[in-house]
Amino acid sequence: MRKITYAQAISEATCIMMEADPNVVLMGIGMDYSSGVFGTTNEAFIKFGSSRVIDTPAMENALTGIAIGSATVGLKPVIVHARNDFMLLSLDQLLNVSAKWNYMFDGNAGSLPIVTRAIIGRGWGQGATHSQSIQSILAHFPGLRVVMPSNPADAKGMLLSAWKCLDPIVILEHRSLFSIEGEVDEGMEFTDLDSAKVVRQGEDITIVATSVCVYESLLIASELSNLGISVEVVDLRIIQPIDRSTILDSVKKTGRLLIYDTSWVNFGVGAEIAAIVAETDSLNLKTPVVRMGQLGVPAPVSKPLEDQHYPTSKSVLDIIQRMMSREIAVIRTIPSVTRSFQGPY
């Protein structure tokens, strides 16, 4: 199969759905720039023009309300936030309205097929307000769908599924993955919006990871297999509604669980997964559950501090060594995808 980048996959899905469905419109800041939100909207702008690819003023909350109103009369808006941090301004409309719309009106107010794409930043000094990762805030509110593609195929498949989905859905993309290549079907290959995916089979330890952490976990798993440690990697993919059974099946098999998420550990996705495991009988864990992610401070800019802020393949390996109660002699350094990002944005 041909390979394309994560950004190209998003662009391709966007053009497919806009071609097939005249009700799809793209809205957000920078939609019509030549850079096209890191190469994801420029192709659509060239093909469909400014009536359907709309560069909007800075108005995150009203824009989300506008998307809601437009959906009540049949549009299928796709909102794009170049960083998910800006999306915090839209949470009133997103959480107070869109998440509740169907339940609150008992299905009588029609569907709200609104897609929000928002990008997570990391590294190169992007700092406190450009490198947050807000999935757990969003997933806390019943009624919203929250997904995180970790590879080009899902970046395309999730956007296509989001287009077909009649519920409001947030797709959190990771800036560090935009230039990653992967095999992507040329047609309409949809990603299931209900299930996590075991992306590498293993026996000794389960890593449940999100987004770019899946990419890193796969590299680590590959290294460890050379040392006789068999790691199972579960790509959580769908944050809400969360797929409990895929997680539990894996943990039942391995007896060890490491959760590796893009956001802060406290009150995060890892806490939810750890709770799901803790609430389940007869898993017979061999070691306590470990959560990894950002430490409990805003992301600092200064390089030495920033380096300390995020887990590295070394720190993940240290944790696995502890969980496996055995020494791991690392043979070579695992390249960090997030460190290949050279800014500025």
């Binding site: 108005m59 909350n61 109103g69 437009s70 009540t72 009106f105 107010a109 519920d167």
Partner: protein, 326 residues
């Protein structure tokens, strides 16, 4: 329709809404309407005057004080009573309550109590009409405190920027909960001048004069549908009851406004005003009007007793409709 028939229609609609709300006042203390309710009594002329001029395919959104708009749009009093009583036949299945109303069959597309959310909805619907080149308007009702929210300004800016067919209807009743305008905006604040600063056509009118509201609304909707962009109409009006609930403020010892002020506005009741015009200008007889009143009273009583008999939602339905997709 001649002006007499039109005035009769406006009177009947306002009276229907008033009778509905007075039934709520009567029944609320019984505790079966377990939903915070913002009565529209005193403000009926805005809803009725605006919506008498709409075309059926124009869409409507509203805020927390939304019973008037729901009924004026053609929503049924039965489904609204059922909603207030938490019944399955309520317009929102009993799940939404007083501030979350919808009836898509009459293009009443939703209400929301957090200030200015619905202002953005209407802007979005108008945006869709613009893209699809449909000659329809989106109408939204909001209170004066909407001008304190950022989303208001974002929506005005966007609607002016894209020349959208949206009708912004401000019900300026002077109070946000118990806070007067003096506490919330600088002296000499003029909302329509603020809208005009965006290049939006804006006018102010007597919101207790239903014929005047209708006249301005007709003009506004013509303006909007001839492609001239958004229109903002500020209607000066007054709610006579407390912000939420069915008592008068002075009955419960609140002194943010005086009993005299409330009574002054009760004397300016929009229904009494149109009744006078019907009797004096259009030569309608008092017995004709009494017949209308009796008929409406019976209909509202009947709608309520039917709603009381309708079932509660099934417990098994508790998890249903969280998502639209099954």
């Amino acid at each position: 329709m001649n002006s007499k028939d039109h005035a009769l229609e406006l009177y009947s609609k306002m009276l229907e809404i008033r009778t509905f709300e007075e039934k709520v006042v009567f029944e609320y203390p019984n505790g079966n309407m377990r939903t915070p309710t913002h009565l529209g009594i005193g403000q009926e002329a805005v809803a009725v005057g605006v919506l008498t001029e709409r075309e059926p395919n124009d869409v409507i959104y509203s805020h927390h004080r939304c019973h008037n708009h729901f009924l004026a749009a053609g929503g049924s009093s039965y489904s609204l009573f059922a909603e207030l009583l938490g019944r399955a036949d309520g317009c929102s299945g009993g799940r939404g309550g007083s501030v979350h109303l919808v009836d898509r069959s009459v293009n009443f597309l939703g209400t929301s109590p957090i200030l200015t959310q619905a202002v953005a909805f209407a802007t979005g619907a108008a945006f869709a009409f613009k893209i699809r080149q449909e000659a329809r308007a989106a109408i939204v009702f909001f209170g004066d405190a909407a001008f304190e929210e950022g989303t208001m300004w974002e929506s005005l800016n966007f609607s002016a920027l894209h020349n959208l067919p949206v009708f912004f209807v401000c019900e300026n009743n002077q109070y946000s909960t118990e806070s007067s305008l003096e506490k919330r905006v600088p002296p000499n604040t003029n909302f329509i001048e603020k809208a005009r600063a965006f290049g939006i056509t804006a006018e102010s009118c007597d919101g207790n004069n239903v014929e005047e509201v209708a006249k301005y609304s007709k003009n506004a909707l013509n303006h909007i549908k001839s492609g001239k962009g958004p229109f903002l109409l500020e209607c000066h009006t007054y709610r006579t009851y407390e912000h939420v609930g069915t008592k008068f403020d002075y009955e419960v010892g609140r002194n943010y406004r005086s009993k005299e002020e409330v009574q002054k506005w009760i004397a300016k009741c929009p229904i009494i005003s149109i009744r006078k015009i019907l009797l004096q200008t259009y030569g309608v007889t008092a017995s004709d009007l009494d017949q209308i009143k009796t008929k409406i009273f019976k209909e509202i009583e009947n709608a309520f007793s039917q709603a009381e008999k309708s079932p509660f939602p099934l417990l098994e339905s508790y998890f249903e409709n969280l998502y639209h997709r099954k």
